[in-house]
Every structure is written in C-alpha cells, then in structure tokens.
Symmetry: C2
Subunit: 400 residues, 2 copies
C-alpha cells in the first residue's frame, strides 16, 4: 500500500490474469449471485502477454466512488461493480469492527482505475481478468483475508477462476446463497511446464450477442442444454485426471469436444447464438489436419464467446504449429507476442498432408503465452495507474 | 411404357420431386437397410423448379446393366443402386412368378439414365429426388405395386419422402427388417395452397463431409444426439398438428429450431461437421430480423447438409421477403426461377428495423417454388432420356 502524501490517500495496484476454459461455463442457475448451471475448468494464462491491471485508492479528498476502464470513466452504478464493492466492504467491516481504523478506511470513497494490455470484449475474457483484478486489489486495500474467488464470481462468473494460477476448477456448488460456488486450484502453473497457448486473433470486433444474454437464452430455449449439464461432472473428473497425469491427448480431445459442445448449445438456442465464423471453422479444420497428418493429437482448439481461437499445445510443437498457421493464414505484418518461437521449415510432406485452403490475412496476430500465476500486487509506486490527484494517469479525453 | 421398335425395348420415363425436411433425418440405426435413428418430416417442392427425371429401359440388345447420371456414366455396382435394383426385381419376380412375361422382363438387362434440373450435391437433396425417381420408374417398368417408399429408402434415406407430394412423414419404425420404416403423406400438396418455398443458393460447391459419413460420426461421438432423438416424437406431433391446422407461426418456429438443432449435433460431433457458412448465418439473422421487425413469424429458414437456405413462407409475404433478400444480398444478375413475384418497394421503415450488414453477391440465385406433387410418369415419348440406341440422349463426352 502506498500513502504518497501521508494525507489519507491509500493506494494498491495489482495485476490479474486471463483464463481460458477447457470446460466451459455457460448458463446460470442464479442470475443475481452468478451461480452457474455447471462446473467449469480453465487454464490461467501468462500475465506478460495478457493481464488486467487495476489501481484502487481511498482518500478523504474523494467526494464519490468513481471508476475508469481503459482511460474512460464508467458508471460505478453498474450493479456488478456495486455487488463486488458492497461484498468487499461488508467483509472488511466484519474484520475491522473492533478496530479504530474502521472509520478511516470504510467511510472514504474509492477510486478505481483499470487497464488491459489486450483488446476488450473480443472474446478474450477481459471481464474475467478485470473483475479478478478489481476484487484482488480491493481485498488488499481493505485487508480482506480468506477466499475471495466467490466475490470475483459476483462480478463476472469466470472471474473467480482468474483468482488462481495454473489449472483452476470452478465448482458450481449446491447452496442457494452461493457460499460453495468458488474456484479451486487443480494444479499450479509449475505443474506442467511444457504447456503453451497460442491465441489466434481473427477479429477485434465486439461480439453481437453478449454472453450474459446468450446464456440466458440458451437456458430458457435449448433442449440439448440439459444433456450437456448432465455430462459435465464426468468431464470435470476426466479433465482433472488428464491434467494431473499430464496426458496431453486426453486433455486436448476433451478441450476440443467441450468447445464444440458449448457452441452446439449456442446454436440450439432460439434465436440461435453464433460466436464462431468461417475463419474459426478453418482454424478447427487446420488443427484436425495437423493432428491427423502427424497421427498424434498435438494441438487443441477452444473458442469462447467470440471468433478468436485459443490453441493449447506443448512447447516442442509450437514451432510447427506457428509455421502451419503462418502458412495457411499468410500476412506480411503478422506479429507474434510472447516467448520467441524457433524457426521451423515446413516440408512438402507436411504441407501435402494438410488439406486446408489458405486464407491470407484472416488471422491478424498471434499471442504466444505460457500457463501463468494468479493475481499479483505491484509494489513499484511508479506502476500505479493514478496520477497525484487521484485520477487516471492515462485518461482518454477522446473516448470520455 | 414405350416399345418403339417392337423388338423388346421397353422404356419408362418419370420425374420425382425434391423434398426439404422441416424435422431432419440425421443418423441411422441400421446402415445397410438405411433405418433412421429418428422420424422426420418434409415438404415436397414443386417439380417445375426442382426435379429428377429418369428413363429406365430393358432390351434384349443390352449386354449389361448400365447407368448414366447427368450425362456421365456411373458404376452400376454402387451398393445402393444394387440394393434398389435387387429389391424391385425381387418384388417383380414375386408378382410375375406365374406369368409367361417373367423371362422377358426379368432376364433382360436394364439401362438407367437420370438428370436433375438443378446442381447436384450442393445440399439440395439431389439424391432424394434421384432415388425416388429411380425406384418409381423401375416400379412402373416392372409393374411393382403397393408401397415403394421403403425401397427408395434403401437408396437414400430421405428419398422415401420424395415418393409422395405435399407434407410427408418418414416413420422410423421399430422392426429390424425395416418393413415399418416408410413414408406417409400427412397432407396433400393442395392442403395449404398459400405455402411457398424460396431456396437461396449461396454456393454450388460440393460439401466437405458427405451426409452418410457425417451422420455416422454424429451417432458415434455426439453426446447431445440422444437428447435430440428423445425429443423428436413430440416435435413430429406438434409439426403434424401445425400443418393440419395451417398454423404458420408454429410450423415456422419448429422448422427453425429443428434446423438449428440438427446443425448443433453436427457441431457436437468429433471432429465437428459444419455445413453452414457465414452467409448461412447472415440469412438466419436476416430472417429473425424480418420476423422481429414485423412482430410476426412470417418466414422460416432451414438448412440441410450444405450452406443453401430453404425459406418457407406464405404467398402474401413472398414479395417483401424477396425484396429484403435482394436488398441485403444485392447482385445485378440475381435471377429468380419459378412463379413471378410481385414488385415490393421497401420503405425506410422496413429497412430501419432490419439490422443486418449487406453482403453483395453472397446469394447467387433464388428458386421460388410451391408445394408439389409426388413422382409422375412422363407419357410423351419425346421426353425420354434415351436415344434410339438405348444410350443417353445427352451424354457428356467431356465429363465421361
């Protein structure tokens, strides 16, 4: 915590990761508390490439609670932000009730500044990282201890999984008040050091149907959804086992099947909900072609509520897969962020086995990343997103 | 039957219609007999726009059974053609066993010539019309009486529905030998005179995954398929009732939901099977926009194993829907086959309510048609597809 002027300005800055589910969350049994219809399981990605960063501060100079997201002021009245703020303050009040600091901390207004290092709302789980970061930062600011993934869940369901690094399960729970619906780490980020993710960004456009609306409609109209829900617990067990045993082919096949099934129930919705495009489909065909041509499952795709693909694969296969993607989606300016990728020269034999039509420019860039850790406190005061006046350093005057 | 030279050359020519299912057939419980996993229901379309035409002949001059499809000789050894030929001959033999004609008819070789008036294998149910036409023609040639839709079924499952006009159910049946798996007419083509179909042809390319292979993979890998199968009988009842009562909104909603559910189980297949493209999806959005903007369900989409849409709608709404399609998929050369469509001028109010991005050229042409009759015998000898030598009139030397 930083207290730059010693006049009651208390500030915390944290970062939190993106997670990409391999067993997808889709459907709520309780809209207000964000309790899911089924359990889900995700991989936390590296924060060097994908993270939210949030600074929160209290000061006696602040006249009201305020929030800025990516340089643009947002209404703090957003019910999900309010739910999260209220719950953190409630837990803080409980803890501080006997302390003289209570008035100091809980009576002051809060300013929140948050930024992502990647495009918002393009199906890249920005809200998960954002709410995880907000809750983690507020918990640090107010000194809230213990499990906080259930608070993050009330901001955005999948945010609860971004509270932990590595491989994370969100147990749906049974209780009506949601107390047993939180995230648990299945394995830490160090467990399977060879695991890599490649995010193929095909579009940075906002999706047509938001996931909140989409999943509501699926729950109320899809006949197939109940079959999906019935099968999830078995898949959670198989996936957990595959991760613990580092069994990549099983992990990969379950991941692909679950992604397809999630999009299948979206399509079985009335009116139907589509998140994948022709390019997403080409990526799917390319992945199956790579796996078929090598005779081994080397790479898995998964798609969230948007057209971008997340490929999971092992370190040894990154050069081949990146080369294949660059060959079939050629783009002179395609850049790859993240750890350097070794050169790999595709042979005519490689190419002959992969029967996919090239589509120049369809993949805009690639994010290469590892499995990462959970939220972190940023101790360097220079990294705070606040300027001295308690407003964002990077306020966008244009977008405001 | 024509016997031009009185030297034992017997020839029959028939036409048969295309049908487009509103409750889809997908999955076999018996591959050889083509017994379906679920019942299905279709609308038979008008033959002026969409039909197969087949001439079959026997002659003592023929040295072997032979077949030509769209001017190109095909192997008669195709197991499905063989199944159909054997079954027709078996029934003919039974009927003719006491007759002196037996030797004459059954010992001679057969020539088969078939042509479609629309592109083959573009998801336009060409095999249904083709096998219905073949079986109907052979039945006429050999004098086979009684139910023949079960023979057509053994050529191509959905062909059994093209044996009748109007609205046709294919009852899946329970018997292991398939004797109770045949088509029945729910209502004749005259029952609902206002019903129209518009086929939006977006591509005449062949599909990636044939339906035989696709449905096998769905049955063996899709978890959601069993839920679909469980729900079909209820849908068959609701759809039959909607047709009998001419309840268009219910007919339309069930049609759209079933199409989406069929494509959902294709997507839940491993590897996933895709038949719809981005253009198919735009058509779906356009249809929902039209229905939402008018506050009534005026039009329904359905997609078979290909990207082309079949829209069902009532005569009064054809001018509006055609105008909207032409507005959002503008193409200077877009032609419409079938009954003339009245002019309709879209108002700015119409356009304002329909929020879909135009996509010039994505729809290549429109086939406008009514609900049609079952197979017909063509009596005019000039319409035979045979030349005098028992070979096709229109043999394609290039394609052969």
């Amino acid at each position: 915590m930083q207290d730059p002027n010693n006049d009651g300005f208390l500030c915390v800055t944290c970062t939190a990761p993106v997670n990409i589910a391999v067993i997808k969350y889709w459907g709520k049994r309780n809209e207000k508390l964000i309790l899911p219809t089924n359990s889900s399981l995700s991989v936390t990605l590296g924060q060097d490439e994908l993270r939210a960063k949030t600074s929160v501060a209290v000061s006696s100079d602040f006249n009201e609670d305020k929030m800025w997201l990516n340089g643009k002021e947002q209404s703090i009245e957003n019910p999900r932000i309010q739910n999260v703020l209220k719950e953190v303050r409630r837990r803080a009040r409980k803890r501080l009730s006997d302390s003289e600091n209570e008035a100091d901390l809980l009576l002051k207004h809060v300013h929140i500044v948050s930024e992502n290092n990647f495009p918002t709302a393009a199906g890249l789980a920005s809200s998960a990282a954002g709410y995880a970061c907000l809750v983690y930062s507020l918990a640090k600011l107010y000194g809230v201890q213990g499990e906080i993934s259930d608070i993050a869940r009330q901001g955005s369901g999948s945010a609860c999984r971004s509270i932990y690094g590595g491989y994370v399960a969100w147990q749906k729970g049974k209780a009506d008040d949601g107390t047993d619906s939180y995230a648990v780490q299945i394995a830490p980020e160090t467990h399977w050091p060879e695991m890599r993710a490649l995010i193929l960004v095909v579009s940075d456009q906002k999706k047509d149907v938001g996931s909140t609306e989409g999943m509501q409609t699926t729950i109320s109209t899809s006949e197939l959804m109940q079959q999906r829900v019935q099968g999830i617990d078995k898949k959670m067990k198989l996936m957990t086992q595959a991760i613990k045993e580092k069994d990549f082919p099983t992990f990969a096949k379950l991941t692909m099947q679950d992604s397809n099934q999630f999009h299948a129930v979206c399509l079985d919705t009335y009116p139907p909900v589509f998140y994948m495009t022709d390019v997403s489909r080409q990526i799917i065909q390319l992945v199956h072609s790579i796996n078929d041509s090598t005779g081994h499952i080397k790479v898995a795709y998964t798609f969230d509520a948007g057209p971008n693909a997340c490929l999971y694969l092992l370190e040894k296969d990154v050069p081949l897969v990146v080369s294949v993607v660059q060959h079939y989606f050629p783009l002179s300016t395609m850049h790859i962020t993240g750890p350097a990728v070794s050169e790999y020269t595709l042979t005519s034999d490689d190419l002959e086995k992969i029967k996919v039509q090239p589509n120049p420019g369809a993949v805009k860039y690639i994010i290469h990343t590892k499995v990462g850790c959970g939220p972190q406190v940023v101790t360097d005061p220079a990294e705070s997103l606040f300027s001295a006046n308690g407003k964002p350093k990077h306020e966008s005057s244009l977008e405001k």
